[in-house]
Symmetry: C2
């Protein structure tokens, strides 16, 4: 049996490639800003491939750097006086506006955890909220009209405070985690009623909806509130589901995942960054955004902390996006 | 936020639709036959949605009926003298040639099992091999030149006996199960060396290759022998992997699975049936075959035994195939 390679029947990409050719400065003139609120952290992470200590992390940081490949970012979070100036300089250099970053007396939020060979499951060793314990998000006046808002994984009560401070964004997206389903379910349900798109992983969707069927869970979530649900399935890709529409995105076939920390954050950040960068919330464009988010997340897990996430080139992003297209293609 | 429905940007289907318009008799003139060897059974199955007793089943039966939607089938298996004549008549009526079906003194192979609400896992209550214990596949002379051969899930030693009796098929596909990985690994590895495409589910691929990474498992399997591996992932769809190519097919979003028995068999049967019906082993066509296999399997699990599998219309198949295209579509 001779198996020919995939024919050239794959239609050529219709993504606005021109956008990738712009410099960050040019882009900041052209595209909408993304407002991102969430944790900024220093993490200790151990995986079968090594370990790092006090490395830059946090949901808002991962998602901001991911989004910054597509649009200028405004970050709202808090750091302690141990937060290295090099991290501040790095974020600024990536067109992440820091006017909304609070500096508080004390230590930065610190997470320590490890992953076994089954890299799907994070095991938490320590969580020190530190300055995050007293954090109340204050959205600077000039941020309040941001058309694109991402509520990264934090206490849903804080997410509600953010929603109270912004003026009718064009698109509001939230993320969450099992901890808030266990401890702040009512507030989380209130957030879900007020956002356009909710991101959850498969276990969280099943837990929140009390069903083993992901399909049922997704439809139930859409009944609760958000117009759309994006379910992250790790090595199985992602689903984007709304009333009447269903999109299944593949995952990228990585042989080695070095450090899964921030995969979900960089996925959501890449998603909203791409939507803001193109300022297009059509269903077709949201599908592309899911795949650009998957693309960014697939790079993120190739190294510890933000090492890989911070060094991706535009050519690498487009090449891998096209690989995703080949992976999913059939006529 | 207004979310428009998917634009009409989905390219029109290039599947050879004409084929669906032919009658079974016309098709038998035009297309290649599929030879299918495996179990023919009477099953007791219980799921949260009901139960059936002594219902038609077996890997060769499910895969033959699935394949029969696309090409004429030649079945090789064994039944006992309790096998109802109505099942024989049913198979004949579906253009399944029964010259290779042996009738033996004793009872037909019998499986009894149940599924909990997590319908991914079958729990076996009883397996009575009965006449299957003495079964030795004998391939009738006129079947030996079949261009398409499917070794459904049976003892790999019997699969090897089939391979010894056929003349250079154009495409040979095998399926297996965890039981043979545990008890007949050497014979199974020998089968894998001699077939073109191996079908396994995700747990079997991980078990056989000793790795949690499906990607690593798939590449390792391709090193063992088959030119391609198809990994069935249930609610997460399927992967088709060869050296240098990687295809991810979505699953169909069923809210209720009534009876998962035969899902893998009907998937593989639909796959090889479509390839034989089109007589085209190009990579693009194999991708379509994976999706047609998924289409048939998604119908099969909508009811017990072969109730749904035996009543699908051509229009339903094409409509659902097009739904799969919409589910996976992005530009």
């Amino acid at each position: 049996m001779a198996l020919p390679k995939l024919r050239s029947s794959l239609p050529s990409i219709r993504t606005p490639n021109f956008w990738f050719l712009l410099t960050i400065q040019e882009k900041s003139q052209l595209t909408e800003n993304v407002l991102i609120v969430g944790s900024m952290a220093l993490d200790d992470v151990k995986t079968p491939f090594g370990e790092i200590k006090d490395a830059l992390g946090g949901a808002a940081v991962y998602s901001s750097i991911a989004a910054s490949y597509f649009a200028p970012v405004r970050i709202v979070g808090v750091v302690g006086n141990d937060f290295p100036e090099e991290h501040v300089a790095f974020l600024s250099s990536r067109n992440v506006d820091l006017k909304g970053m609070q500096r508080a007396e004390g230590k930065t939020f610190h997470w320590a955890g490890y992953y076994d060979f089954d890299l799907n499951q994070a095991h938490t060793l320590e969580t020190h909220l530190n300055v995050f314990q007293q954090f109340r998000p204050v959205i600077p006046q000039e941020y309040r009209s941001s058309k694109y808002v991402f509520l990264a994984n934090i206490d849903p009560e804080l997410q509600l405070q953010v929603l109270d401070q912004v003026d009718k964004p064009k698109l509001t997206v939230c993320d969450t985690m099992n901890f808030w389903i266990d401890t702040k379910k009512e507030a989380l349900l209130e957030v879900l009623k007020r956002v356009d798109i909710a991101f959850l992983n498969d276990a969280e969707a099943r837990q929140l909806c009390g069903t083993t069927s992901l399909v049922k869970a997704a439809y139930k979530l859409c009944e609760i509130g958000p117009k759309m649900v994006v379910i992250k399935k790790g090595e199985h890709g992602a689903l984007m589901i709304a009333n009447g529409t269903y999109f299944s995105a593949p995952s990228y076939p990585l042989e080695e995942v070095i450090d899964p920390t921030g995969a979900g954050d960089s996925f959501a950040g890449g998603f909203i960054g791409y939507v803001a960068g193109t300022d297009d919330i059509s269903h077709d464009n949201l599908r592309k955004a899911v795949v650009f988010g998957s693309t960014i997340a697939s790079f993120n897990v190739e190294d510890f902390s933000l090492r890989r996430l911070s060094t991706i080139t535009r050519k690498e992003i487009l090449d891998r996006y096209n690989e995703f297209r080949r992976i999913a293609f059939f006529e």
